[in-house]
């Protein structure tokens, strides 16, 4: 909870700074319905020989291949330093419709086969540690800050939020350490998120494709699979964890205009029902992702990436409570257009 409130404070500061820097005359109440048209930088520049080179990128649409060094600790287990790989296909669409107060826009960030991190070398419990998602979609609608009540006559009420959905389908998380109780041997452990869906509200209402501050609440359905020590997943223990709209989230996403720098902060707090002892448990996670494009090779950017995350995993009958802290520093090749 303390971490979440700290994150909230940080996000508020960031929003205030971003609004000051980029709004430039926008009505703070109504928001800007167009993606900050005033100071849009050019996509290409030309060198003295007339050769063009790209100086603006779409951070939401790309194929990402990265390598990093990860520092991970799970409390008293010490720090594990290991190389890790990152990969993913990201595609962003931004559509607008209507005129004036009827104008609305949708920003949709799609991520396919998104491997947030994968340890090819260090394999606790005999399987590679990883966090990967089959599909994640973040949908955010921006429009005039009103809701229309279909009464007779229709009523319009002030509603200062952009509305969206944050959807995750098919996520696999294999933790860095799966030490069993009483410092027993590590066992294979998987958390499979079948579906997580959040309704998100964005009070910032930037209207830009890259900037948002999202507060969400929603449901999750996770399945923990604990393997057998000797024969892997031959006879696993399966624990169902269901959060019926009790999960909450905060997310701040910032991108600069040329698409060279991106910051993403996200936190989740999830009280949920566990099938193991049919009681309620609490899990949480928070992530920070910062990337900065340093160079581009043939107009394909190469970025320095910094990731940090914290994940609290509730205990089970065999595995104690796990608090996993991670920090990584790496390089990513961002193939896109």
């Amino acid at each position: 909870v303390v971490a979440l409130w700290s994150l909230w404070s940080l996000c508020t500061l960031c929003i205030a700074y971003a609004q000051t820097a980029s709004a430039q005359g926008d009505d703070p109440t109504l928001g800007d319905l167009t993606p900050s048209a005033p100071s849009e930088p050019p996509t290409y520049q030309h060198d003295p020989h007339g050769h063009p080179y790209r100086v603006r990128f779409d951070l939401g649409s790309r194929a990402l291949i990265g390598a990093a060094v990860a520092f991970t600790t799970t409390g008293d287990a010490g720090v594990v330093i290991t190389p890790e790989l990152q990969a993913g296909l990201h595609f962003r669409s931004f559509t607008e419709d209507g005129e004036g107060e009827e104008r609305s826009s949708w920003r949709i960030d799609n991520r396919l086969i998104d491997v947030a991190w994968l340890w090819p070398v260090h394999r606790p419990g005999g399987m590679p540690s990883m966090s990967a998602t089959v599909y994640r979609g973040q949908y955010l609608r921006h429009s005039a800050p009103y809701l229309i009540i279909p009464s007779s006559p229709p009523a319009r009420i002030f509603f200062p939020f952009d509305v969206g959905v944050d959807l995750t389908a098919g996520q696999v998380w294999a933790p860095a350490s799966t030490q069993t109780l009483n410092r027993g041997p590590e066992i294979p452990l998987l958390r499979l998120t079948t579906l997580a869906a959040y309704v998100v509200l964005d009070p910032w209402r930037s209207g830009r494709a890259g900037d948002s501050f999202e507060m969400g609440f929603g449901m999750r359905y996770d399945i923990d699979i604990e393997g057998d020590n000797l024969r892997a997943f031959d006879s696993p223990d399966i624990i169902h964890r269901i959060a019926p709209f009790t999960s909450t989230s905060l997310r701040l996403h910032l991108e600069d205009l040329p698409g060279l720098t991106a910051l993403d902060l996200r936190a989740e707090l999830t009280p949920h029902w566990s099938s193991e002892n049919e009681d309620w448990r609490l899990s949480s996670s928070s992530t920070l992702h910062l990337e900065r494009t340093l160079i581009a090779i043939n107009d394909q950017p190469v970025a320095l990436t910094l990731d940090a995350s914290y994940r609290h995993h509730p205990s089970t009958d065999r595995v104690p409570t796990a608090d996993e802290w991670r920090a990584t520093l790496g390089l990513a090749l961002l193939l896109g257009y």
Binding site: Q45, D47, H49, H51, Y53, R54, V55, L260, T293, L294, I295, A296, I297, N298, D299, P301
Partner: protein, 428 residues
């Protein structure tokens, strides 16, 4: 058996070997006389050709590509006429060339054709109009000359398109100077094809069925085929933009091409007659360090890898397979625009690592470098006969003993090339 001359501190045992050395002692003198005779013959032919050519070099010639009017002169003989106003020739002139090969009724070959045909009396009308008639040679296409009788002959040669057979005297020296092999000769054959794609700005080069046999030690070398594509790009292959401070672009003008080699072999290299080496394939990238506009002249660097097998019967009959890294620096220049002078430089190194066999987990190093100059003094039936002078240095590490040996070789000989077309080059 090669002829060995050894320095006095090397003692041979046995009368048989002494007699052999004594019997072969005249070999260098005979070889030198033979080489001198061949060179003298070449020089005599060259001088005669030069004197003959100078006799009609001043005769005007119809210009290839300009309109030619075909008509009959006042003696009713067919002639080819190009009329123009040329201050150098004294104003209005007509160059007139017989449209028959001298002494026959055969029309000259390789002409531009007739743009128009004059009627009877057209020749006289030109005279009446004030044109001065100047005897001239029939036009000839680029790369061809025409003699006073109207016959054509090829005067430029593209040595990157030919089949060739050659022979050379090839004395070989140990770099330490302790050993010389003077009675060594070399026979060689091969084929080269090369063409320039001006649209893609690429030059393709194929070498095929190249082989050589050295006598009398019977060292054989050969190659099935090789291919190289070199490229000239107007747009840089790679550029890097930095976003630290103001975005800035840096170009990498690397014109990367590629090449390959299939099935090369060396059987019984000198000193190691029990060694056979087969390179099954080699693949490399190349980058011109310097190139002419049409990539005909170029200096290029090659980096790649190869796969091969080595047999060394001194140790085992079983082969050892290797994977290796290759690097080469190659340069070629045709001096002037005739293609009569050709200079090549090749330096190649191979670093094989044996993955299997009796040499498993061992690596070795081989290097060869050659500089060669080839000049065409004469052509027989438009097929050039060239003189080739070369020097090479080779390094080879003997896997059995671990010794590394340097050798230098001189080449002095000739090549007879077939179907080398006229040199057609595009210049900026």
């Amino acid at each position: 058996m090669p002829l060995f001359f050894k320095s006095p501190d090397v003692h041979d045992a046995g009368d048989t070997q002494h007699r052999a050395l004594a019997a072969d002692a005249h070999m260098p003198a005979r070889a030198a006389v033979t080489v001198f005779s061949v060179l003298t013959a070449f020089a005599a032919l060259w001088v005669c050709g030069a004197l003959t050519a100078s006799a009609y070099a001043q005769t005007p010639q119809l210009k290839w590509g300009d309109p030619v009017e075909c008509l009959a002169d006042n003696d009713n003989q067919p002639v080819r006429v190009q009329c123009k106003h040329d201050p150098d020739l004294g104003g209005a002139v007509c160059l007139v060339a017989s449209n028959r090969v001298m002494g026959s009724q055969i029309e000259p070959s390789r002409t531009w054709g007739c743009s128009s045909y004059g009627d009877e009396g057209a020749y006289q009308r030109l005279i009446d109009q004030g044109f001065r008639m100047i005897p001239a040679l029939v036009e000839a296409p680029p790369g061809w000359g025409r003699d006073a009788r109207g016959r054509t002959f090829q005067v430029t040669f593209d040595l990157l398109q030919r089949l060739y057979v050659g022979a050379s005297w090839q004395p070989t020296f140990d770099i330490s100077g302790r050993e010389q092999v003077l009675g060594r000769s070399n026979l060689e054959v091969g084929g080269i094809g090369s063409w320039y794609d001006s649209f893609e700005q690429k030059r393709h080069e194929v070498r095929f069925l190249e082989g050589s046999l050295r006598m009398s030690d019977l060292e054989a070398r050969g190659m099935l085929m090789s291919y190289d594509m070199t490229v000239r790009r107007d747009v840089p292959l790679m550029w890097i933009t930095t976003f630290i401070g103001e975005p800035t672009r840096y170009d990498g003008m690397l014109d990367l091409g590629w090449g390959m080699r299939l099935l090369s072999f060396v059987v019984g290299p000198r000193r190691y007659i029990d060694v056979r080496d087969v390179e099954w394939g080699e693949l490399h990238i190349n980058a011109p360090l310097w190139k002419s506009h049409d990539l005909y002249n170029q200096v290029r660097l090659e980096l790649g890898g190869n796969l091969g097998t080595t047999w060394d019967d001194r140790l085992a009959l079983d082969p050892s397979s290797y994977i290796g890294a290759t690097a080469a620096l190659r340069a070629r220049f045709t001096l002037g625009q005739s293609g009569l002078h050709f200079l090549t430089i090749d330096a190649e190194g191979v670093l094989p690592y044996f993955a299997q066999g009796v040499f498993e987990k061992r690596s070795t190093y081989r290097m060869t470098s050659t500089i060669a100059y080839e000049v065409i003094p004469i052509a027989i039936v438009d097929q050039p006969l060239s003189l080739r002078v070369a020097a090479s240095a080779d390094y080879r590490e003997d896997l059995s003993s671990g010794d590394g040996i340097w050798e230098t070789t001189l080449w002095l000989g000739g090549r007879f090339s077939l179907w080398a077309p006229p040199l057609e080059r595009t210049f900026e």
